[in-house]
């Protein structure tokens, strides 16, 4: 069925997407503004990007953020995949309700509470705040997101594939490694990416759990933003938006192509 946009739908979509994208677009444009005054255009310049590259504090924070994000998303992916497997395939065990509750609760828990409670824990056990505590905190909340992503894939996973592997002589672990994991790999990867961006973006939990020597980029941006709009922050934001946009668009194009190729091959197979 071929459909066209009705004028009403076209209008609401245009207005809606303008609302969603105009603020970011303005921010990007004005990051190339020569003037220090952020709302007055004074010609094109990339000087704020240059200054950003020489700002040690920002570079340090970026490095800390990246370290935390890579570590926590990796741990979160391992733990989250395990948790998803337990939820979908673990059968019944004592304390299953509590387990699933603890997996879903962090998704709806206000960040201020998660941050506060983790900080109080770290103080109670006498763990000095730094990169380690942020990684622990980020791993905890992002493993829940990973587990949701992975378990939604596992639910649709044809269980007979695992049974076939067992039937053909695999041990349960071998079956997971050589059949389940390769097939759910796309979900595991998107779980990792989600955990990575969550960690990259997080301000509140990091503020609670970071120490003086481990300021992350969002904390840095937040303290700068409270003083008002600055062209340097605009430039930094633009870089971050660009990285995400390139990543997301590439990923969707790649998966779109893969789907198209697959459909094409399936069509051919049917005609044989």
């Amino acid at each position: 069925m071929t459909r066209r946009f009705s004028w009403f739908n076209a209008t609401s979509l245009t207005l809606g997407f303008t609302f969603l994208y105009l603020p970011m677009l303005i921010l990007i444009i004005y990051s190339f503004n020569a003037s220090k005054l952020v709302t007055v255009w004074a010609g094109f310049s990339t000087k704020w990007y240059g200054e950003l590259l020489h700002n040690e504090a920002f570079l340090d924070a970026a490095w800390v953020t990246l370290k935390v994000a890579v570590l926590s998303s990796t741990f979160a992916t391992v733990l989250g995949t395990m948790a998803a497997y337990v939820m979908v395939r673990g059968g019944r065990f004592r304390g299953r309700t509590l387990f699933s509750g603890m997996i879903y609760a962090p998704l709806v828990m206000p960040e201020v509470i998660t941050g506060l409670s983790l900080l109080l824990l770290f103080i109670a056990i006498g763990l000095d705040r730094g990169v380690v505590t942020i990684v622990l905190a980020h791993t905890t909340f992002s493993m829940c997101y990973v587990s949701v992503v992975v378990s939604s894939r596992l639910v649709t996973f044809d269980r007979s594939l695992e049974e076939a592997a067992l039937d053909l002589g695999c041990s349960p672990f071998d079956a997971f490694k050589s059949v389940t994991l390769p097939i759910i790999a796309p979900a595991v990867i998107s779980g990792w990416l989600l955990a990575f961006t969550l960690s990259l973006d997080d301000l509140v939990i990091a503020s609670f759990t970071s120490g003086p020597s481990s300021t992350t980029l969002p904390i840095k941006i937040f303290s700068a933003v409270r003083l008002g709009v600055s062209p340097e922050i605009n430039a930094l934001s633009t870089i971050m938006i660009a990285i995400v946009a390139i990543g997301v668009i590439t990923a969707s194009l790649v998966s779109k192509q893969a789907i198209a190729r697959r459909q094409n091959e399936e069509q051919k197979a049917l005609k044989q």
Partner: protein, 298 residues
């Protein structure tokens, strides 16, 4: 039960117990303690060196004093109420803005839909903080919105929007819009076109068919979307502190200030406990809605 299965269950289980449940119990405990000029800044602390006596004195030292304090101080009452009000109003606005977009997406030509979908999801992946920040330049006194309105002649003096509740509403609607659009889109997209044709065939006008068929059948999406906006908006911290002003009272911000500025850990913990108690209701309602939807889908 084999060792591998135990290992598989225990590792994530213990992790969540240690880093989710235990911290929360600590918050609960501190909420029942009293503030003190000490390190850590509250009493009593659990002291096992005195054996059973120590534990008894510890429990004897716990009380509801902080909660009583919260009910007596008007600030907290107003903060909870104003959080609820801000979350509710912005959820309603998000629904009004989001529904036409979701509807337009669902009715868009097939080849357009993946692109539109990606355009809605893209902001998800973009930094929350940056998206909130992007409105500062627009809403400020000399910002783009005021420049535009002055230029068109609608107003003669710049409006004060930034650092008011209006800015907070805009911020919440903007950042949580995708959460509203996606479930509604999913609900409308599933809707069988022939139902609308049947309604028109039976004498409905287009508008009537929309009210009598589309809206009721997208109800579960609307409910899901509203909760997905309302629940996180209630505990929001970043938006009120970046876009809101000193008069903007939201409980997330109060908690933050109580903890970092006043260093009153017991009161901050009590604030957190009550916030959670308030959140339990919408969370349970949301779960019910999801459950019902899953059941109706078989």
């Amino acid at each position: 039960m084999n060792v591998r299965r135990l290992f598989l269950i225990f590792v994530p289980y213990l992790w969540l117990l240690a880093l989710f449940l235990v911290p929360f119990l600590i918050v609960l405990k501190i909420a029942l303690s009293d503030g003190a000029l000490a390190i850590p800044p509250y009493i009593p602390t659990l002291d096992f060196s005195n054996g059973w006596e120590g534990i008894k004195t510890f429990f004897a030292g716990l009380d509801m004093e902080n909660f009583i304090f919260l009910t007596e101080d008007e600030l907290y009452w107003r903060a909870y109420l104003s959080s609820l009000q801000i979350a509710a109003i912005s959820t309603a606005i998000t629904l009004l803005v989001g529904y036409p977009i979701a509807y337009g997406m669902a009715k868009a030509p097939d080849e357009w839909r993946p692109t539109l979908m990606m355009l809605v999801i893209l902001p998800f992946w973009t930094s929350f903080l940056i998206r909130v920040y992007s409105w500062m330049g627009i809403l400020s006194q000399e910002g783009f919105l005021n420049q535009f309105l002055l230029w068109t002649g609608i107003i003669n003096d710049p409006l004060t929007i930034l650092n008011t509740n209006t800015a907070v509403y805009i911020g919440i609607v903007y950042t949580y819009l995708p959460f509203m659009i996606l479930p509604i889109y999913a609900a409308i997209e599933k809707l069988d076109e022939s139902l609308l044709e049947a309604a028109e065939d039976l004498g409905c006008s287009r508008m009537q068919a929309f009210w009598l068929v589309t809206i009721p059948l997208s109800k579960s999406g609307i409910i899901a979307g509203c909760f997905l906006v309302f629940i996180p908006a209630l505990g929001e911290f970043v938006i009120p502190s970046v876009l809101g002003g000193s008069k903007t009272l939201m409980i997330g911000k109060v908690l933050w200030e109580e903890f970092f500025s006043n260093r009153d850990w017991p009161v901050a913990s009590a604030v957190a406990v009550i916030l959670l108690l308030i959140l339990v209701i919408p969370i349970i309602l949301f779960q019910r809605n999801e459950q019902k939807q899953r059941e109706s889908e078989g």
